[in-house]
Assembly symmetry: C2
DNA sequence: TAGATTGTTAATCGATTAACAATC
DNA sequence: TAGATTGTTAATCGATTAACAATC
């Protein structure tokens, strides 16, 4: 299979999210265009890019298409747990670890870190909480691959660097800071502030 | 000024975030490449796209460049408050409204909504909390332009539709659902789950 | 000046789009 | 069959990249 462009990967990942909660058996590119806001030509091109040819004249079987996207993009299945940690246990970090958002997902939080001892001692979770000083040892030992970064802005860059040094492959960045990471480490910026600015820019 | 491509807008918005916390007087495209992970040719092209020509042979004045980007992209300044609301006051929504992330920003939360009466009555904030039924009247009355969507997944689509109907211009989507919105309403997907999947897809 | 970086051009590269034969 | 949608091609469109004269 040829290499899949970055833009196609993002669209396919979004389609996978759509399909995961889709209730009917079959789905057409027209329905997906309407639901995901992606042109149906692009959708069919993206599907063709991953080599999936299960479509027939009344659409794709939703579960087959979902499986094909997951396989092509190496998206984890719910039963293949991938270990994550949360760095920064302030209001937002604590909420992310407690709100149950990862419960049915392939991503499992197995550690929390904070540089303030009172946060790691006061909070409770069904996984261990550590002082930030333990990051470099715990992350490799616990086979943690991904990190949720929710520290205060003034610590963001330092912590991102330490997460990268500790071996995480990706960081979900909730801070308002732009992170500088080594090649090979992927950052997804999900700061609500950046998101709002992106909306302003797009809305013109 | 010609129209600015979507990809350029996103990069420039990221550069604006970078510049907002940049401490030195001058910055070069090489520094920005290193810090934001964007090729310097693209950075200079993007800057040229917005018609900014303040650069000299030792870089750009950071504050001038930031002002130019904000103006070209119509990004709000800290003193020009834009009103937002939070829909869904569970653990995550409550944390977002209490964590102070919007404090120094141009975005001001002026209302919270939840369909569960006990949430709007138990929680406290320095802005009013309403039952979801009030959305359609409060949003236009309070001149709310943007919404943070943090409801449970099973309510996500319905609430997004109601937010759009109520007149918001953009939705920051924290839910795992893909939202279907009318043309003209902008959605930024910041679900941690989607972000993790995007990281997996990108990391190959 | 010597060195470094900008601003811009032109070439390349890649992505989007439209169209339609093939298929069910 | 008639109608609808896929899969794919080719054309178009737009974005990225490299290069370099101009500038400080």
């Amino acid at each position: 299979m040829e290499k899949i462009p970055e833009a196609s990967k993002r669209r396919l990942t979004l389609l996978a999210a759509l399909l995961a909660s889709f209730k009917e058996e079959k789905i057409t590119s027209i329905q997906m265009q309407k639901m995901a806001g992606i042109d149906r030509s692009i959708i069919r091109k993206d599907i063709s890019l991953i080599g999936f040819k299960g479509g027939v004249s009344n659409g794709y079987k939703a579960d087959e298409l979902l499986a094909a996207i997951r396989e092509a993009l190496k998206l984890p299945l719910p039963e293949q747990k991938r270990f994550c940690c949360i760095a920064g246990l302030g209001k937002l970090g604590a909420a992310l670890m407690q709100c149950g958002i990862f419960d049915e997902s392939p991503f499992k939080i197995v550690a929390g870190f904070d540089s303030r001892v009172n946060r790691t001692e006061v909070l409770s979770a069904d996984f261990p909480l550590y002082p930030a000083a333990k990051m470099e040892t715990v992350i490799p030992e616990s086979k943690i691959e991904f990190a949720i970064l929710a520290v205060e802005d003034d610590q963001a860059r330092l912590m991102a660097e330490r997460l990268a040094t500790s071996g995480v492959k990706g960081i979900v960045n909730f801070t308002g800071q732009v992170l500088e990471v080594p090649a090979g480490v992927v950052v997804e910026n999900v700061s609500p502030l950046l998101a709002l600015n992106n909306i302003c820019a797009k809305a013109n």
